[in-house]
């Protein structure tokens, strides 16, 4: 039953569309753009024609301007008020749309006023033009009017404050940690130069000792008198340096300390014997 009624309704509406397609349109339409203070720029006054291709130039709208359209809506050429009379604004970049309703009287005469305050922030910050069309429609079988009227350019004169964007669950910007710089080194040749300068002091020291008469000629005499004590004492002094070197290279303190203790003990015991021999030589006047 409902289905049949639907078909019947459809047929009725179809026939009515074919027979008496009452079309919405408008007449006497004028577009004004006026600044609040007089004399600021030239006011725009253009006539809008229904069905035409629209204005050929973009209409500028700065913060002080008011855009106003005055028109009379018609149905089949007679002034009449439609249920829906919107100025449709479309931002081309994002596809965001906003409709602003006309204030109409019953005889179809009416107007709409638009300032920057009426626009969403996305329109104000848009780089592209805003496409403005007129939309007149009503119930029943009347044919709606919807056509491009003009392009609007929102002039940003610095008074527009962009609020921070609202939070959305989406992919966030990547963050890559910025590492601190590695420690800087002086040029290697400077280090090499000073390293050699330091190393050069050893030959200078040995040379000056030689010039002052330093020698090791009594080594054979000393080793002859007490070979065990001298070889152990001098050996333990070298061994102690070797222990320090191994500590520098790889040993830890627990490996170093016992070995250093043993070497130290050897040095202490053998040193007293060796130094006794040295004292003997001194008492013999050989030092």
């Amino acid at each position: 039953m409902k289905f049949l009624r639907g078909i019947a309704l459809g047929l009725v509406s179809l026939s009515s569309v074919v027979l008496a397609a009452s079309e919405w349109s408008f007449q006497d339409a004028t577009l004004y753009v006026q600044a609040k203070g007089a004399g600021v720029g030239k006011p725009i006054k253009e006539t809008l024609v229904p069905g035409a291709t629209g204005l050929s130039f973009p209409v500028g709208l700065s913060s002080a301007d008011t855009l106003k359209i005055v028109l009379t809506t018609t149905e089949n050429g007679k002034p009449k008020r439609p249920h829906q009379a919107f100025l449709n604004l479309r931002e081309l970049e994002t596809g965001l749309e906003e409709n602003i309703a006309f204030t109409l009287k019953d005889n179809g005469k009416g107007k709409v006023e638009l300032t920057q305050k009426d626009l969403p922030i996305q329109f104000l910050t848009s780089k592209s033009f805003i496409r403005v069309s007129l939309l007149l429609a009503s119930f029943g079988n009347s044919v709606p009017y919807t056509a491009y009227a003009f392009e609007m350019e929102v002039v940003n004169d610095g008074s527009i404050v962009v609020p921070p964007p609202a939070e959305r669950y989406t992919v966030k910007e990547e963050i890559h940690h910025i590492f601190r710089d590695d420690p800087k080194q002086p040029p290697a040749f400077i280090s090499v130069f000073f390293a050699f300068a330091v190393l050069a002091t050893l030959p200078i020291l040995l040379g000056s000792w030689l010039m002052l008469g330093g020698n090791i000629s009594h080594a054979s005499k000393a080793f002859g008198a007490n070979p065990l004590a001298h070889s152990l004492f001098f050996g333990s002094i070298i061994a102690m340096e070797a222990v320090f070197f191994l500590y520098y290279l790889s040993w830890n303190l627990f490996q170093t300390l016992p070995v250093a203790g043993v070497v130290g003990l050897v040095a202490f015991v053998s040193g007293s014997r060796a130094l006794t021999e040295v004292q003997d030589r001194r008492l013999a006047g050989e030092r």
Binding site: S13, N99, A101, P144, A166, V192, L202, S217, H230, E241
Partner: protein, 460 residues
Amino acid sequence: MRFTLLGLLLGFLGIVSALSATGSSLLVIIEEEADKSKYSQFWADLQGRGYEITYRSPKDTNLSLFLHGEPAYSHLLLLPPKSKGLGPNLTPNLLVDFINGGSNILLALSAEQAVPTAINSLLLELDINLPSDRTSLVVDHLAYDLTSSAEKHDVLLIPSAEPKKGVVDFFSVDGLVAFPRAVGQVLGNASPMLSSIVKAGASAYIYNPKEETEGVEDPFATGSQINIVSAFQARNSARFTVLGSSEALQDTWFDAKVRLPGTDYKAGKTSNKEFAQRLSEWAFKEIGVLRVEQVQHSLDEDTKDINPKIYRVKNDVRYSIEISEWDVDQWIPFNPPTGDAVQLEFSMLSPFHRLSLNSSPSTTNKDATAFSTTFRTPDQHGIFNFYVEYRRPFFTAIEDKQTVTVRHFAHDEFPRSYEISAAWPWISGIWVTIGGWLAFVAIWLYSKPTRDNKPASAKK
């Protein structure tokens, strides 16, 4: 997340044939028994998918959403009541508790009856605004059904919209979906938990048919700002879906013949049946449910030591997380929509790294996708988290946090002094000291006097 998993387990234990990831018990609030038959195809579809449907009237005094303090049902479908309100058992407070308990709600509205104020205020809590005069409906003089609403233009025919970049497309169907006598919703801008499923066309607007004016001058909302179907997903991933037109679920509109006005007179069948299935699948968590399978992190060069508790600064670390998605009746590998990515944050208070992960099929689990990356731990010691937070419209939330310590260089991990060129003069100084000391000891011990100094020793 934990509740979801628990629900999952319970769901599996309860009924194997249940398709929802959270459970199969569905409570339908319908006021008049006679209206039930209007939705018979929808009920049959739901029952075929394994739901145990309980029908109750809002006037039923025994009606309770809770049993022992826990939600008694996994899902709730609220059809528009004929009476003014929903009664004392379905107050906004109880419905919010029901969501907080992890259950899902599908709320269907209709402009045929005035929307109860209780629902108005409930939706306001979620930042969904309905027109304040409770009988308003959406009309569109350019996209209505010529067959059924030639005069009133209140049956909207809406094609599926292009999904937004980076947002999953669960709801698009071929052809037109009819929304008769829809209640339009306006979503607040502040909440990221709200998303729009179906928007009205550019020429639509909301008006109150009871108002005796000839033209609309201050519409509540216009164009694509009007949502016909919208979704709210709570922090616990419970879903609240608002369907502006309950009639869209009725048998009359499943495969109904409709025609758009205009010169081309496009005629065809509605896709309401398919859309109702998609919408209920999403609303009752049959799709878009995510699960973390396995999380692994390790040193990049030593992948045998899995998930160590401690790393050093400037270690190269490999991280991988496996995620699967519930798709009607099985777990499948999850792939984010194009333009979207799963991101890892390596954070201590604030993220030091935030990296998009590369996806690859998991080698161990055929139902999961592995998301992985390698990066270098920052040169800052402390307690860090491997933190993956994936919150997206229409997907349940994923939050995975693995805490590790990042330590300093140990004393034996710094470069050796001979590797530092600036140290060379000092090292050579040490060698000179050693050489000089040994030479001094040798000369002191074994030096022979150069001249006869007996008198000197005799003095002593």
